[in-house]
Symmetry: C2
Subunit: 192 residues, 2 copies
C-alpha cells in the first residue's frame, strides 16, 4: 500500500497524485485510504521515509566498515546503483522531494537527510585525510556524487532517450553501474 503510494507520488508528484488516484491503484476507494492514513501528507511522509531509509543504511555501512577507501567507495557506488535500479520510483520520489522542499523535509525529515549527507561528507573527508581521495571541498563533492546517482534514474525519459529498451533492464543497469563506479572514482580522484 505504501509501495503503491510511492509509485504514484514518484510518477505524478505530491500535488499531481490525488488520493483518489492512489486509492484506485490500490484497488480500493478514497475513504478506505483515509481510514489507513489520517491525511495525504501523512501517507506521503511515510512513503518517502520508507524509500530513503535503505540508502541511509548503505551509507552508514560504508562509513562503519574499514579497509581500503577506494574499495569501500566502489562497493557503496554499486550498492546504491543496485538499490535505485531495483526500485525505479525511488530516485524520482527523492529528487521531487528536494525540489519541492516537500512535506517530508518540512516534517522532521530534514534531520534524516542532513544525517545522511553528513555521513557521506564524513566518509569523503576521512578518505582525503588518509590520502586515498584528492583534497577538495567535501560538500560540493558529495552533492555531485549524489547528483550522478539520483539524476540518471529520476530522469529516465532523458536517460533512456537514445536507447531502445528501458534503463531498468538488466543489461542497461550493468552498463550504468560500471559507468557510475568509474565516474565516482574520477570525482574523488582515487589513486589507482
Amino acid at each position: 500500500m505504501l509501495a503503491v503510494a510511492r509509485g504514484a507520488f514518484a510518477e505524478l508528484g505530491y500535488s499531481g497524485a490525488s488520493m483518489n488516484e492512489i486509492a484506485g491503484r490500490a484497488g480500493i476507494r478514497k475513504p478506505s485510504l483515509f481510514h489507513h492514513f489520517p491525511t495525504k501528507e501523512a501517507l506521503y511522509v511515510e512513503a518517502v521515509g520508507a524509500a530513503l531509509a535503505p540508502l541511509g543504511e548503505l551509507v552508514a555501512e560504508a562509513s562503519r566498515s574499514t579497509g581500503d577507501f577506494g574499495a569501500r567507495l566502489d562497493r557503496l557506488s554499486e550498492m546504491v546503483v543496485d538499490y535505485l535500479s531495483a526500485h525505479p520510483e525511488t530516485a524520482r520520489l527523492l529528487v521531487r522531494e528536494v525540489l519541492d522542499s516537500g512535506p517530508f523535509l518540512s516534517a522532521g525529515g530534514k534531520q534524516t537527510v542532513g544525517a545522511i549527507l553528513g555521513a557521506v561528507g564524513e566518509f569523503l573527508e576521512q578518505g582525503m585525510r588518509a590520502g586515498a581521495f584528492r583534497e577538495q571541498d567535501a560538500r560540493h563533492l558529495a552533492l555531485s556524487i549524489i547528483a550522478v546517482h539520483l539524476f540518471y534514474w529520476a530522469a529516465d525519459p532523458l536517460s533512456g532517450a537514445q536507447i531502445e529498451g528501458s534503463i531498468f533492464e538488466a543489461a542497461e543497469v550493468a552498463s550504468r553501474r560500471a559507468a557510475v563506479v568509474e565516474h565516482v572514482r574520477a570525482l574523488v580522484r582515487v589513486a589507482t
Copy 2:
C-alpha cells in the same frame, strides 16, 4: 510575464502552480492571464522553451568553436554554471520537466532536448577521438555531467543545507563554479 510563470512552475511544479497563483504573482487576475495564453499547457510550454534555449546555445557555441578541448570544456562548464546561477528557477524547472515527462517534452520539446543531448555527446566523442578526453561511454558521461550541473541548483534546499546564506550568492556561486569545472574535468579525465 513568462518569467513570472517560470518562477511559479519551478517552485510549485506544473500541477502545483495554478493559473490563479501565476496571475496573482503577475499582478493581474486569472481571466486576464487566459487572454494571453489559450491554456495552462501553452503557457507552460513557452516558459520551459524560453528557459532551455540559452543552454542549447551555450552547447552549440562550444561545439562550433575550435581549439583545445580542455579549454572549451572548461569554458562551457563556467558558462553553464553562470547561466544556471543567474536564473535560479531554470534548473528546477528543467529537472521537473524531465521527472514529469511533462507537457513540454510531450509537445515536440523532445526533439529540442534530444538535439542538445546529441550535441553534448558529439562534443565529448570528438574530444575522445582527439585524445583529449578518456575513451568511455559518451551517453553515460553526458548524463552524469548534466546531473552535476542541474541537480545542485535544482536541489537548493539540499545544496544549501549546511551553509548559512543562499547558494545563489556571489561567493557561493564562485565556489560551485570552481568545483564544477574540476568535477567535469575529472569525469572526462582531461589530460592536465
